[in-house]
């Protein structure tokens, strides 16, 4: 067992604390997702002569594909490294809700990113990631693909925002009301 009960934080999860790799994954995702939502909502209302009219969507697509890779890695790591045990003060219902919220996060994130990809690749064009590499369109488009994918992309993101509030409120509740170490478990020690 390389699971450590206390002391210095390791790269893997301990029984009470997330490891630094999981913490890095989590907070990097928080930053990227926040930037993506803000950028996405801002860029669609830019005027045609705005200097970011092309740059903003290019950045959104590039960051989105990198976030997709990060999310796949996160999912892999989440399955590979056993999670810390929930604080004893959590009810069974709280634990159940937390598990479903986490699962829903992964499902929503992947669905949002896939639908975003389907907007830009609807006509067979590939997506360029920071002039670094290109992700090709993987299949021939279906009728009105960009419109349907666009609606899904938008509304699932609205759902994600609601879920973020739920997740954050729960973390704050555990910290302030329950006074347990749930929130501290995902912070740098």
């Amino acid at each position: 067992m390389d699971r450590i009960q206390g002391g210095l934080m390791t790269w893997r999860n301990s029984r009470t604390h997330w490891g630094w790799l999981a913490i890095l994954n989590h907070w990097l995702s928080v930053i990227l997702i926040s930037v993506m939502i803000a950028l996405g909502l801002w860029m669609v209302d830019l005027t045609y002569y705005h200097s970011w009219y092309h740059k903003a969507p290019e950045l959104h697509k590039s960051l989105g594909l990198l976030l997709f890779a990060l999310t796949l890695f996160r999912l892999f790591w989440r399955l590979k490294d056993p999670r810390p045990i929930a604080s004893g003060s959590h009810t069974n219902l709280e634990q159940l809700i937390a598990r479903y919220v986490h699962l829903l996060f992964y499902i929503l994130l992947l669905a949002i990113m896939i639908s975003g990809y389907l907007i830009s690749t609807a006509d067979g064009r590939s997506i360029e990631v920071f002039s670094w590499f290109e992700v090709p369109a993987l299949f021939a488009g279906f009728e009105k693909q960009e419109d349907i994918a666009g609606d899904i992309h938008y509304w699932l993101t609205m759902g994600l925002i609601i879920l973020v509030f739920l997740h954050s409120a729960a973390a704050v509740k555990h910290h302030i009301v329950d006074k347990d170490k749930t929130l501290k478990g995902i912070l740098w020690k």
Partner: protein, 192 residues
């Protein structure tokens, strides 16, 4: 009574005659021998071309009475195609055609006036983006005759210039891009 009978028979006869003479043509959109294309300047540097892929319509035309010709065309606005999915999505959205709210554009002719040399001026009402406005198209009669497969066809082309703001489309594409040119080429198959 005799007068009324003769009046009715004259009416029936004239209706029968007009239906023979003013032949009705269905646009050949199944065989895609009908096109509704547009072009608009991009920044004043080049032309951007696009088209509507789905529409239907019909026209009547009688060589003896060309001034009675009429046209109706319905366009599925969501079928706009500028060969770029992201741009088409934008064009279908609220900044431009708002196709969820206005899924159809419609042209109904009000007059047709031949000016010689197979040229004509077609006037009518265009409903686009929820706005109905009288427009004028320059028409050219391209040709007509029996086709090799047992039908009879007649074709026209038409051009017109639309100002986007007339149809309440106000997204600013720059000073060179306030108007869009339409090029319409249709072949009608005579209804039997």
């Amino acid at each position: 009574m005799k007068n009324l009978t003769s009046l009715i028979s004259v009416m029936i006869l004239s209706m029968a005659l007009s239906s023979i003479q003013a032949a009705e043509y269905e646009l050949d959109n199944k065989g895609a021998h009908a096109f509704i294309q547009f072009k608009i300047k991009h920044l004043g540097f080049s032309w951007l071309l696009g088209r509507f892929n789905r529409f239907d319509g019909r026209f009547t035309y009688d060589e003896q009475k060309p001034e009675q010709a009429s046209v109706i065309v319905n366009i599925d606005t969501a079928s706009i195609d500028s060969n770029h999915a992201e741009r088409d999505k934008h064009l279908r959205g609220k900044d431009f055609l708002d196709v969820k709210k206005y899924p159809q554009a419609k042209f109904v002719s009000t007059s047709f006036h031949e000016t010689g040399d197979d040229k004509a001026v077609l006037k009518g009402d265009l409903t686009l983006h929820g706005v109905t406005k009288a427009i004028e198209l320059d028409v050219e009669h391209i040709g007509h005759g029996a086709d090799p497969w047992g039908g009879y066809r007649r074709g026209f082309s038409a051009t017109t210039l639309l100002t986007l703001s007339d149809f309440n489309i106000n997204f600013d594409l720059g000073p060179a891009s306030r108007q869009v040119e339409l090029f319409i080429s249709v072949e009608g198959i005579k209804s039997k």
